[in-house]
Symmetry: C2
Subunit: 534 residues, 2 copies
């Protein structure tokens, strides 16, 4: 069916374009098997699933019965529910963030912090173990496996934070497409693209592509740390399963490296320029849309700000509540501003809250960011929020907490489009100072608007690019011609160590032979001389 | 003006799209300064110049008064003529190819071949010297330089086989865009993208991305050879000029590495997958167009072939004439075929020419390749011809001679879409055998048609992609966010050699200190023991 439509596209392109424009759902549908990651990653995946659905594709989503974000029923997909705990516990992360914040602010001992970090590492280990059991449950469910086989999917779409999708794709010989920012062992590119540590900063280092000697050393150290984490905290959870179901010749890393496409949730307006590969497709900001009109009460509130404009603040879903003194500091700082403020906050109403500040449980963030009255976004620095701020050209005051948030905000700060305030040592004064700096210095807004212009100036919208390439994989049953197989080389061959050793060996042998020859000649000469003398 | 149009594009996209569709030339024009390369490279550049012109841009082309390909007057550009010999001598190359062919076929001595190759290397050196003098003439012509300055060009578009364009762009601080397959020191990617020699074959090696140990060794050897050539045959011609006009801190290589965009005349249907950079835009096949109807006499000839179809043969512009026996062999082989043959050949009519073969001085190659009756393309393997064969899905019988021809055809052969016959040892029998194999085994055609489908299945046409990015550079005065500045690092920092040596040093110092401490402790203990004994 896809073949026929491809034929039409090749030979009667105008008919094809007219058909696509008139009725996108008429495009002959493929079948996509999705292994999503729970939590905020699901928000991203769902955008692609809805878009695939709107283009007439059938989507099946594999979820755990304990999933909170991934609903069992949806108009956009059918679900395959595994009756198991996925290991994704939002409560734990929320609690961890709360504890981290308290510990940092109260200046508790190194030991307390270490215990907390260790607890988180153990939790991650446990999450991998649970995902591994989920994998086992899937493979042992012969009926389910047969039904997946019979469904004849065109491709597996997955978030490579978990390897389950990649393992299933390999098992069924299906093309594999990643919706990715990270793999379970670090930033996505590192798995396939050469990444010279001298100018490609590791995630979590808060480094740019221009580093001093000691920064480069720190980067090398962090690289070793990621490799260690992979070897001791992640690999062991899956090694047994991979050997059991895929055989002994398949290793964990190569499952990722063999993917047909990497749809990356970044672009180079946001990320530092670095080597990439032909099968990496950039779709940073694919979830961004022009803003819709605000609900009347919000519009009225925003308009009431007059010439001063509005500040919005959100720390994402992971921070439900802040320590009381911190919330008071923030509220008091806001109260001193002539701007109006919309603050998404679920905790108790701070005593110092000014009349200019509206507390909300939820807000239409992207519609607000696109509103011309919005002057500043106070954000925790999740990738989605940062990309939306870039899209709408709103400067950021960043309060990063965990994960990639500090790195995300650092990229904005380096480009002069925002500023980071240290959440852990922050008080009313420093927070207010930060806000006023970004508000009063017009270069922040100008720089963010330049980023916005660069981001929007692409040949195709990022979501359309992603859809094109997903459908490309359907049409051609993969994207082998874009994918190197160099990962199959042993490391010493990949880095030409064997060739260099061989060449050095040859040179040494030649030199050695020459030296021996010269010595022999000399000794012969000397002996002759000696014979002459005696 | 561009700013205003960009504003319109951002805020009223539909108005923008309608305008673009209704009147492409209405797009507000930029000014482009072009430093082209003479010869077949000019054919490519001219395609882009015509397209830029049709989109309302003003193009100025810097040419030498001795240029044969680059005309002084054109409806598409204004020319800036330098009254100097450009050093590009087609006659020399034609003569060289003729001599090489004769020597190879007659099996002349190694010494004769060496002399010929050396002569060619000297000619290249001379060409670089001439280009360097052209550069000097340009810089010393104060009036011309002032007029370039006053013209306020938006960018310099150049073929980096010569560094003149890059030097001028640097001098005036203009954004730099390359139309490139090669730089003067090898395949374009090598200048900016990490290129592990274990799976990225050097040009001229006839290797794929899957190499044996000795092939990898050969690749490393060829890399060293290119570096040697650059250092001893190319750099000296320009070093003085660069220091004189750009100052002592600029080196030859970094002029290339600083380019904003690399418009590459390949794509990954043709090239093996390899690391790339965000500022590399692939436009392989950008010159290809759907075929137009043939002139009546050719159409009649093609139709007269009936079910057998037609073979076309062209060895490009560089081979004017073949040795008589070789031409006879080719003609005799063709005469034995049931197909009709169109052979582009300027030499004397071979005695053995059959009735089925039409000799022509010139043919509408791309229109013929797109004709459904064409079954086979006998080609020398220039990049343009190979890309056109891919575009139209016509399998190739390759007769490579010099430059990248063997590498180009090898890529087609590896993918099973064509076959190489050794031109130097070829006779009637082996040539006929080659033709029959490609004609009778349907997998050659099938494979080429798969390549054609993959090549055509892109989100945008390659030429449109190229134009988009050229205009992107105009709109944003460069593409700094896509370009790494890692080339500014010294090599030992780029490869983290300093960091590794430092870390090894630290480990050695710690070990050394420990060893000294232990030795001291031991000797103290021993002394005490000794004191006790005595």
């Amino acid at each position: 069916c896809i073949g026929q439509f491809f034929h039409m596209k090749m030979h009667w392109p105008w008919l094809w374009i007219t058909l696509c424009l008139l009725c996108p759902a008429m495009v002959c549908g493929g079948k996509v098997l999705v292994f999503p990651m729970d939590g905020s990653h699901w928000v991203n995946m769902n955008v692609i699933i809805e878009a695939l659905h709107s283009r007439g594709h059938q989507v099946s989503v594999v979820r755990s019965s304990s999933s909170w974000y991934i609903k069992e029923t949806s108009p956009f997909y059918t679900s395959i529910t595994l009756n198991i705990d996925s290991g994704f516990e939002e409560d734990f992360i929320t609690e961890f963030v709360g504890q981290l914040l308290a510990i940092q602010r109260e200046g508790k001992s190194f030991w307390t912090r270490y215990k907390l970090e260790k607890e988180q590492a153990e939790q991650s280990l446990e999450m991998n173990e649970k995902m591994s059991r989920m994998l086992e449950m899937l493979f042992e469910n012969k009926e389910l496996m047969q039904s997946i086989q019979d469904a004849k999917y065109d491709l597996v779409l997955t978030d490579p934070v978990s390897p389950i999708g990649a393992i299933v794709a390999h098992y069924f010989g299906l093309p594999l497409v990643f919706n990715v920012r990270w793999t379970s062992h670090g930033e996505g590119h590192f798995a396939i693209a050469p990444s010279p540590l001298s100018y490609v900063p590791l995630t979590g280092t808060e480094l740019s592509d221009k580093m001093s000697f000691f920064e480069r050393m720190f980067n090398v150290f962090m690289f070793s740390f990621w490799e260690y984490q992979l070897a001791y905290y992640i690999l062991p959870s899956y090694a047994g399963m991979i050997e059991k179901y895929l055989g002994p010749d398949i290793d964990y890393k190569s499952l990722f490296q063999a993917a047909d496409l990497w749809l990356m949730r970044v672009d180079f307006v946001f990320e530092f320029p670095r080597p990439t590969m032909p099968n990496v497709i950039y779709m940073g900001g694919f979830q961004c849309k022009p803003s819709k009109p605000l609900p009347q009460h919000l519009e009225d509130f925003v308009q009431s700000s007059g010439e001063h404009g509005v500040i919005i603040m959100s720390l994402g879903t992971l921070i439900a509540e802040l320590p009381r003194d911190l919330a008071d500091d923030i509220a008091a700082a806001f109260a001193k501003l002539p701007q109006k403020v919309i603050w998404r906050y679920k905790g108790d109403r701070p005593a110092s809250l000014g009349n200019n500040t509206l507390l909300v449980d939820w807000m239409p963030q992207t519609d607000l960011l696109g509103h011309p009255k919005i002057k500043l976004f106070v954000a925790h620095g999740g990738t989605n929020g940062v990309q939306e701020a870039i899209y709408h050209g709103v400067p950021i005051l960043g309060l990063p907490l965990i994960f990639d948030q500090r790195d995300n905000l650092f990229r904005i700060e380096v480009r002069g489009a925002g500023k980071i305030v240290d959440f852990f040592t922050m008080n009313e004064h420093t927070f207010l100072q930060g806000i006023q700096e970004v508000l009063n210095d017009p270069t922040y807004t100008t720089n963010m608007q330049i980023l916005s212009q660069l981001h929007r100036d692409q040949p195709m919208k990022p979501l359309d690019t992603a859809l094109f390439w997903i459908e490309f994989v359907m049409r051609h049953k993969g994207a082998a011609h874009l994918r190197t197989e160099s990962y199959k080389l042993p490391w010493y061959s990949y880095h030409s160590v064997d060739v260099i050793l061989f060449l050095v060996g040859v040179v040494l042998i030649i030199l050695g032979t020459l030296a021996t020859l010269i010595r022999c000649l000399c000794s012969v000469c000397l002996r002759k001389k000696a014979n002459v003398i005696f």
